[in-house]
Amino acid sequence: MLSRTADNLFWLSRYVERAENMARLMEMGYRMALMPAAATGNRSEWESVLSASGCVAGYDPDAPLRQEEVANFLIFNRDNPSSIINCFEYARANARAMRTAITAEMWEALNNALMELRRPSMHNLAKNELPEFIDWVKKQGALFRGATDSTILRNDGYDFIRLGTFIERADNTARLLDVKYYVLLPETSMVGDGVDNYQWTTVLRAASSLRAFHWVYRDDYSPHRIAHFLILNPFSPRSLAHCAEQITQHLERLARHYGQRHSVHRQAVEMYSLLTQSDMDEIFSTGLHEFLNDFQGRNRILSLAIADAYHFGGQ
């Protein structure tokens, strides 16, 4: 496969995943904002969402940190490279640059999503019915992954798509958990009270994991367990452990397919074992935020190493 195609496939799926995760971040902000503000820490929910999105640098410092402005920035701002509309624009541009490498169903899923998003009525929806808009974005991600899953050849292209998905998803789950950090700087007195628990469950909701969590842990909403579910539990589809496992597997498939191993294979296994060998007590005692930061750094390096190994990096 052309290196440029591999690059396009990898980033195509990253952008789709990113769009969806921007929506999930906003879902958290929206739900947290429904709680009495006085009970939270020193930042507003929407400021936290902005920080966790990694887009804070592009936000007009004079603009108010309210839902309307922040959401508009994260959804429609053309200067924000991670805005949902840009994610879909880039994803579709990538798809168009390699129409031969994706199926018609995948193309249609992306093309339709962007066409709808460009309609003015979507602005109104996002402004007046943010939860509905968020659902729409999540649905587009699901449609694209479904189309991919049911139509694409299981060759190397498939591996690059999946690598993109899980690298991006791991990054985003780490960001979701970090919102919680920003909202509530760990003041021991508040940990474990009603608001704190509510906020932790919002993290679960935004990760579409509330029901799954129930099945696994029954009804104990302790921060410890919620964090465990999203970080270390390999059965949770958005957990860091699951993402790392998938990344390792797809790199392994590429190694078999090409008959070639690179240093990226070792790096992936290292990241995976870090997650299988940690426990939550340890993570909380070194600091959740620090742990997540460290993980995001490793994940970024892994992404670069993938590009190096398959000749699409370094330009």
Partner: protein, 467 residues
């Protein structure tokens, strides 16, 4: 004006079954089908862009549901005529880059060839595989009467539009399965296979295996990008950009996830000037530095061969009938449109005196840009155009305004006749192959003769009835 569907209210034979079906279906069904077709096109993403106009870079080309139909007898003539032309044009190209016999024989003026911008000194003396330069010849044909076909121009470089031929058919078969079941329409689906066969057959001298073929595109911003990706996909070969290819030790390679992979045949959809910055435009970022060296030494085949453009120049066009006689010893089966060359003083005088009746074109222009359609122009436009001609007469040719045939077409007021032309795609490699079909373009504006998609033209499916 010749209406291909009916003459004196009599439905012509090839259209009878279609007309019966349309009458039985009624206008609502047809309108609904038309909307369905548009949605399909948008969904599949078949688009084209117009340079220099801004706006939506992915405009839809208007598709007209009513097919244009040829009888098998009509097609036989076109088939023979187009293949004859494709052979003669390739013989001409080989000749002008070797001994130039046709010039020595005094049939074509030397200046017209050697001073032509499209003449490529860099390929003089090179023998391309099978001595073929133009592997895909698109011949633009118009019709003025039941038996009267004229060639308007030849396209020897990389004629576009074949994806419409294939997609139009695909959509028609989805929309009108009954018609395809009851009528015997020649299939066009084999075109990509035939193209692949043709490209395989021109593997370069040094190629010792099943050749690795790629389609080279300038990228997703190009107006014909959809077609490039479509053809690569249909043939199952990689669609590459210049940045994906590089030259190493007299061979061309593409960058892949496994490392470099050798490339043997390049079906390029970028112009000569851009393919190798070391040989042509030094600032081109679309091309591959060193490609021409590899080509010269037989390490790669390029389709169409660099330099092929000299055969489809509008001034050279006027000599194609002479080429056919000279190289093939045959009489042309398809006629040229009578042409005045403004470079000749007598012709220039005639053209300037008759601007209101003629179509004047730039010799090197393409896509219907910069032409004057006499009967549709104002006195002021004619005067302005005359100034341009006088400034550089050699750059212009003129032709009579032909009374182009018309086909029934959906327009706002219902179904009405609109002018059409026709471009079949002839493949030249180990054999000369022609798919029974082609691209019919239609001028959607009433009375308009300009069929170019960039100027309000649309497309139709073309049916060749089998015996």
């Amino acid at each position: 004006m010749f209406n291909e569907m009916s003459v004196d209210d009599q439905i012509r034979e090839p259209y009878r079954a279609l007309v019966d079906w349309m009458e039985a279906s009624g206008p609502e069904v047809l309108e609904q089908k038309r909307l369905e077709a548009e949605t399909l096109f948008r969904k599949i993403g078949i688009t084209f862009a117009v340079y220099g106009e801004g706006g939506d870079p992915e405009r839809l080309i208007p598709f007209d549901l009513i097919p244009r139909i040829f009888t098998s007898q009509e097609w036989r003539k076109l088939d023979r005529g187009v293949k004859q032309r494709a052979r003669a044009l390739n013989a001409f190209l080989y000749d002008v880059y070797h001994n130039a016999e046709i010039i020595k024989a005094g049939i074509i003026p030397a200046d017209l060839v050697f001073r032509n911008e499209a003449f490529e000194p860099a390929v003089i003396g090179i023998d391309p595989p099978r001595n073929v330069y133009s592997h895909i010849v698109g011949v633009d044909i118009v019709r003025t009467g039941p038996e009267d076909f004229y060639v308007l121009e030849d396209n020897c470089r990389t004629p576009s539009g074949v994806s419409y031929m294939l997609e139009n058919r695909e959509i028609m078969m989805r929309m009108f399965p009954d018609l395809f079941k009851s009528l015997r329409i020649e299939p066009v689906e084999s075109y990509p296979d035939m193209l692949l066969k043709t490209l395989k057959s021109i593997a370069p001298r040094k190629c010792d295996r099943d050749p690795n073929i790629v389609v080279l595109t300038p990228g997703a911003m190009n107006s014909a990008y959809y077609e490039h990706s479509f053809l690569a996909d249909q043939m199952g070969v990689e669609l590459v950009e210049g940045q994906d290819l590089f030259v190493h030790e007299d061979r061309v390679y593409m960058r892949t996830t496994r490392g470099p992979a050798r490339v043997d045949v390049i079906y390029r959809r970028i112009d000569d000037a851009y393919i190798d910055p070391l040989c042509f435009k030094p600032d081109s970022v679309l091309g591959i530095p060193g490609l021409m060296n590899v080509y010269r030494s037989g390490g790669v085949a390029i389709c169409s061969a660099p330099g092929a453009g000299v055969a489809d120049d509008k001034a050279v066009y006027t000599y194609v009938p002479d080429m056919i006689r000279f190289y093939l010893g045959q009489e042309p089966i398809l006629n040229n449109v009578p042409t005045w060359k403004c470079g000749k003083p007598d012709d220039l005088k005639y053209v300037l005196e008759h601007l209101g009746e003629l179509v004047v074109k730039e010799v090197h222009g393409s896509g219907g840009y910069g032409m004057l359609v006499g009967p549709a122009s104002t006195k002021e436009e004619q005067a302005a155009y005359a100034k341009r001609i006088e400034a550089d007469p050699g750059d212009f040719i003129a032709q009579p305004t032909l009374s182009l045939s018309a086909c029934p077409t959906f327009v706002e007021s219902g179904v009405a006749p609109r002018h059409v032309d026709f471009r079949p795609f002839c493949l030249v490699g180990d054999d000369v192959r022609l798919t029974p079909g082609g691209l019919t373009r239609v001028a959607l504006r009433e009375g308009s003769l300009v069929v170019n998609s960039s100027q309000g033209g649309g497309v139709k499916d073309t049916w060749i009835m089998s015996d």
